[in-house]
């Protein structure tokens, strides 16, 4: 053991910073979260073990049920929105028919560069009920003013739009790199066989992008379940559009219910684990991994 370490001391030395940091700042905190979730704690006084009561409390907490529903909605809406938009933009950027590609690539990546918090403030102004531009446009199209951020019915929509707006460029880039890897010969052969653009898209592009789209879906899932900034800045009335992670933050650092917040953290981990296991199983069944 010692001999191996000595012989390979350089590579081990080069990689050890990551493992030490992972241990201290990721593994220990994650396990610790699991431990605290079985206790009642305000962060200062002695821990009080309460068994599963934090988890039982969750089921009765309407804020938790709301947050869970909101986050699930953010997840589904963001995944659908981001995948559709990034497929559309990437396919156009890949098409031979479009010129000025460098310009379009540069501009369509811009939203990803902008800070979500700052963009959140801008969206707050754009979606303002009485002075916002969005309502003004709706009015001039003959619609009615919509209380985007003051009613619990509408306040999730700006959050979703902002999230999709900011994440799409990154996934466009990934999809585009996938498109560049598809050999043009497939399309040439298909054209010779008389397949139109739609047929080519569904029988070549989509199957060939399978793995890339799967990767995108997994990452969008993680991004959406830990959504915080967008719904924090674009907060609606009370806790109506709060995300699960936001509820964790407020429970821990505003009301100092560390045990309850940790239990929320555990639920979040379990949901993410469950989703990735299900996703991998589905893929395996289809024989694609």
């Amino acid at each position: 053991m010692v001999k191996t370490l000595k012989k390979y001391k350089w590579p081990y030395l080069f990689i050890c910073p990551y493992f030490i940091l992972f241990l201290c700042f990721q593994l220990v905190p994650t396990v610790w979260t699991g431990v605290i979730s079985f206790a009642e704690w305000d962060g200062l006084r002695q821990l009080k073990w309460v068994g599963l009561s934090n988890y039982a409390m969750m089921l009765k907490d309407y804020m938790f049920v709301d947050a869970l529903r909101n986050t699930a909605l953010y997840w589904v809406a963001t995944a659908v929105g981001v995948l559709l938009c990034s497929m559309l933009i990437a396919n156009m950027l890949h098409s031979k028919k479009l010129g000025a590609k460098r310009f379009f690539k540069t501009v369509t990546f811009l939203p990803y560069v902008c800070a979500s918090v700052a963009m959140g403030l801008i969206f707050k102004m754009l979606f303002e009920e009485n002075a916002g531009l969005i309502n003004e446009i709706i009015l001039s199209l003959g619609g009615q003013r919509i209380p985007w951020l003051t009613s619990s019915r509408w306040d999730r929509i700006p959050v979703i739009i902002l999230h999709v707006w900011r994440l799409t460029p990154w996934y466009t880039l990934i999809v585009l790199s996938g498109l560049l890897n598809i050999s043009p010969e497939y399309y040439e052969a298909a054209t010779v066989d008389g397949a139109n653009a739609f047929q080519q898209f569904f029988s070549i592009t989509l199957p060939m992008l399978g793995n890339i789209l799967f990767f995108c879906f997994v990452t969008v899932t993680v991004d959406s379940w830990k959504i915080f900034n967008e719904s924090y800045v674009l907060a609606g009335p009370g806790s109506s559009n709060m995300s699960l992670f936001q509820l964790l933050y407020t429970s821990a650092f505003s009301t100092f219910k560390m045990g309850y917040a940790s239990a929320l953290g555990v639920v979040l981990i379990l949901i993410l684990l469950l989703i990735s296991v299900v996703q991998f199983m589905v893929r395996r069944k289809q024989g694609e991994i």
């Binding site: 700042f25 220990v28 156009m92 801008i122 992670f245 953290g265």
Partner: protein, 277 residues
């Protein structure tokens, strides 16, 4: 057939133009409003007309928040965070790419697997750890935990794998020290990768919000992002929108400028090779 091609082409440009507007409009609109006087109307379409351009909103920012101090904090964490993470990620990526050692593949798989765990979930114990080691209200709390990241190591390894083994071997035969091989041979070769990873990291760190919100607990220690997020309530409860949007302009415009510069100087652009296999 011919007219159909022209029609699809036209439709494509139309959709693309629409997308460009959606991408650019919110940012341009923000810049315009930030130069309007507080008295001017900013409702609806009025927002787009600037009668007397003014810098007063930016001056007001200095009174509302410790702007210079916040800016310094942001720059400090961004620059130092980027440099350290580049160094340590490249170092680990180099080890995974160019050395054979026991359990290498298992360790690398482990690094990849850790990408699935989000560190945010452990934020409560992390806060307690930071308090124990006295790093609450210290900018180092934002730098140290992310000195080496899984994504960064993965990215660097992919890139360093393409450096020919012969170059590394030749340097070793010439008597170059193992660290010297990394520092004097590999680092210069991977400059393009370092540059694009650096700009992505700079943008991510500059835009970072959750961790500074958690670890920095007084206004003089805030990063610019945290201060700006609190602008709507920092002047009583109703900071004028013009002032808030001046703050967001100060946050967003630098990252856009940096991105455009990178786009101009690099042949392949900022995002080249960011997603390789």
């Amino acid at each position: 057939m011919k007219s159909k091609t022209i029609a699809t082409k036209g439709l494509m440009y139309l959709i693309m133009a629409l997308i460009v507007v959606v991408c650019l409009f919110p940012v341009l609109w923000m810049c315009i409003i930030s130069f309007k006087t507080v008295g001017e109307s900013i409702s609806g379409y009025n927002a787009l007309r600037v009668e007397v351009p003014t810098l007063a909103n930016y001056e007001r920012l200095f009174q509302l928040i410790p702007l210079a101090q916040n800016l310094y904090n942001s720059l400090f964490t961004t620059v130092l965070g980027t440099i350290t993470t580049l160094f340590f990620c490249a170092l680990a990526g180099f080890a995974f790419a160019k050395y054979r050692f026991p359990a290498r593949n298992a360790l690398f798989l482990f690094v990849i697997a850790t990408m699935m765990i989000t560190p945010e979930v452990g934020s409560i114990p992390l806060f307690i750890i930071m308090r124990k080691i006295g790093m609450i209200n210290s900018l180092w709390s934002l730098i140290i935990p992310r000195i080496a990241t899984a994504v960064g190591i993965f990215y660097m390894r992919q890139y360093i794998m393409e450096v020919p083994d012969e170059i590394v071997e030749a340097a070793r035969i010439d008597g170059c020290h193992e660290f010297g091989i990394f520092w004097r041979v590999v680092m210069p070769i991977i400059k393009p990768a370092l540059a694009s990873w650096a700009s992505l990291t700079v943008i991510a760190r500059w835009n970072d919000f959750f961790w500074p919100l958690l670890f920095l607990r007084k206004s003089s220690m805030y990063t610019l992002m945290v201060s700006v997020s609190m602008l709507p309530t920092s002047d009583g409860l109703s900071t004028p929108w013009q002032v808030v949007l001046a703050g967001t302009t100060l946050v967003i415009v630098p990252s856009i400028i940096l991105y455009l510069i990178m786009q101009l100087f690099q042949k392949e652009g900022l995002t080249a090779g960011a997603v390789k296999g």
